[in-house]
C-alpha cells in the first residue's frame, strides 16, 4: 500500500477531510530516466559563448549559401554564353540531331568537342555547384535537433548525473 503524504487541508484552512486523505495517497507519474539529462544537455551544458559561436557560424553559413548560389547562377549563365560563342552549342545540337555521323567517326567528334568546349567555364560551374552543395548539407545538418526520446542515451548526454 502506498504511504500517505501529508494531506492538504481544505480551501478555507479547515482540517483535511476524507477526500484530502484519499488524494494524499495519489502516486505521482514518474518522469522517464532520460528527461533530466536531456533538459540539462539543452540548458546548462550549452554555454552562452558556445551559443554565440554557433549563431555566428550559422550566419556565416547562410552568407556562404547565398554567395555560392549566386556563383552557380552566374557561372551557369557564363557557361551558356561561352557554349554559344565558341559554337559548341551548335556542334552539340548537330550531333544530337545526327548522332549516326558522330558514331561513324567518334575520334573526330571527340577531338572537335574537346577543342571547342569552354573548359574554364565548366570547371568554374562545377566548383560553384560543389561549394553550394557543401554549404547546403552543412546547414541542414546544423538544424536544431528534434526531441529524441527514442534511443536517447542519458549517460552520453551529460556527465553531471549524480
Amino acid at each position: 500500500m502506498t504511504d500517505e503524504r501529508i494531506p492538504m487541508n481544505g480551501a478555507d484552512g479547515t482540517p483535511p477531510d476524507d477526500l484530502d486523505h484519499l488524494f494524499a495517497r495519489l502516486e505521482s507519474p514518474t518522469p522517464p530516466a532520460y528527461l533530466i539529462p536531456q533538459i540539462l544537455a539543452r540548458t546548462v551544458e550549452t554555454s552562452p559563448a558556445a551559443v554565440a559561436v554557433r549563431a555566428r557560424v550559422r550566419i556565416a553559413l547562410w552568407v556562404a549559401y547565398g554567395v555560392t548560389l549566386s556563383l552557380v547562377l552566374l557561372c551557369a549563365v557564363m557557361l551558356g554564353q561561352a557554349l554559344h560563342a565558341t559554337g559548341t552549342l551548335d556542334y552539340l545540337t548537330f550531333a544530337w540531331h545526327d548522332f549516326d555521323l558522330a558514331r561513324q567517326s567518334p575520334g573526330l567528334f571527340w577531338n572537335a568537342f574537346m577543342e571547342h568546349m569552354p573548359w574554364l567555364h565548366l570547371v568554374a560551374l562545377v566548383a560553384a555547384l560543389v561549394a553550394w552543395l557543401v554549404t547546403t548539407v552543412t546547414l541542414l545538418r546544423g538544424r536544431a535537433p528534434s526531441p529524441p526520446p527514442t534511443g536517447f542515451h542519458p549517460q552520453t548526454a551529460t556527465g553531471a548525473v549524480r
Binding site: 480551501a11 476524507d18 484519499l22 522517464p32 533530466i36 536531456q38 540548458t43
Partner: protein, 207 residues
Amino acid sequence: MLGGWRRRRGGAAPDLSTATDEALLVLAQGGNTAAFETLVRRYTQPLYAFATRILGSADDAADVAQHTFIQCYNALPRLRSDTALRPWFYRVARNRCLDLIRQRRTLPADLPRENEEELDALAMIADGGPSLESLAERHDLQRLLAEAIAGLPPKYREVVVLRYEGDLTFGEIAETLGIPENSAKTLFQRAKTMLRLALREWVREEV
C-alpha cells in the same frame, strides 16, 4: 562544463539541494550551472506529473517539462531575483499544455455537471454522504483517483492537480492561473464536490 565547475569548486561546495528557490535563482543568474541543475532536479518530477494529469500523455508531458526549463534558462537574465519560481514554472508549463491542447484541436470533454448552482446544491448532498475511507484499501485506488481527476473539466482539473499533485498554496494556484485567490478556492471546492460524487459511485459499487 559542469564537470569543470565541480573541479574548480572542489569538495567544499555548499549543498545546493537544501537551498531555497530564490537563492538558487540568484546563483543561476550569476552563472552557477549547478544551481540551475538543482532547480531542474527539484521541479522536473512535479511539472511532469502536472502535465501528465492535464494532457494524459507521457510524451507530451516530457515535452512540457523540457520546454519549461528551456524557457526558464533563456529567461534567467530577465527574471527578477524575487520571482516566485514555483508558480512561474507551473504557469509556463500550463501555457505549454494549452498550446499542445490547441494543436490537438480536441478539448477534453467536460462533465455535464458544470452548472455552478447545481454544483453548489450537489455539494450539500455530497458532503453528507458516506465516507470515502473504504476506497483507500482498494488495490486499484491509483487508477480510480487518476480517472476521477481525468474526468474533471479542465479548469477544475488544473486546480486539483496543482493542489493535490503540486502541493501549491491557493495563493500560488491563483498566481499560476492568473485568477483571484478566492476564485481558486471556490474552484477547488467545486472540484472536490465533483470528485466526491465520482468516487461515491465506486463506493456504492463496493457495497
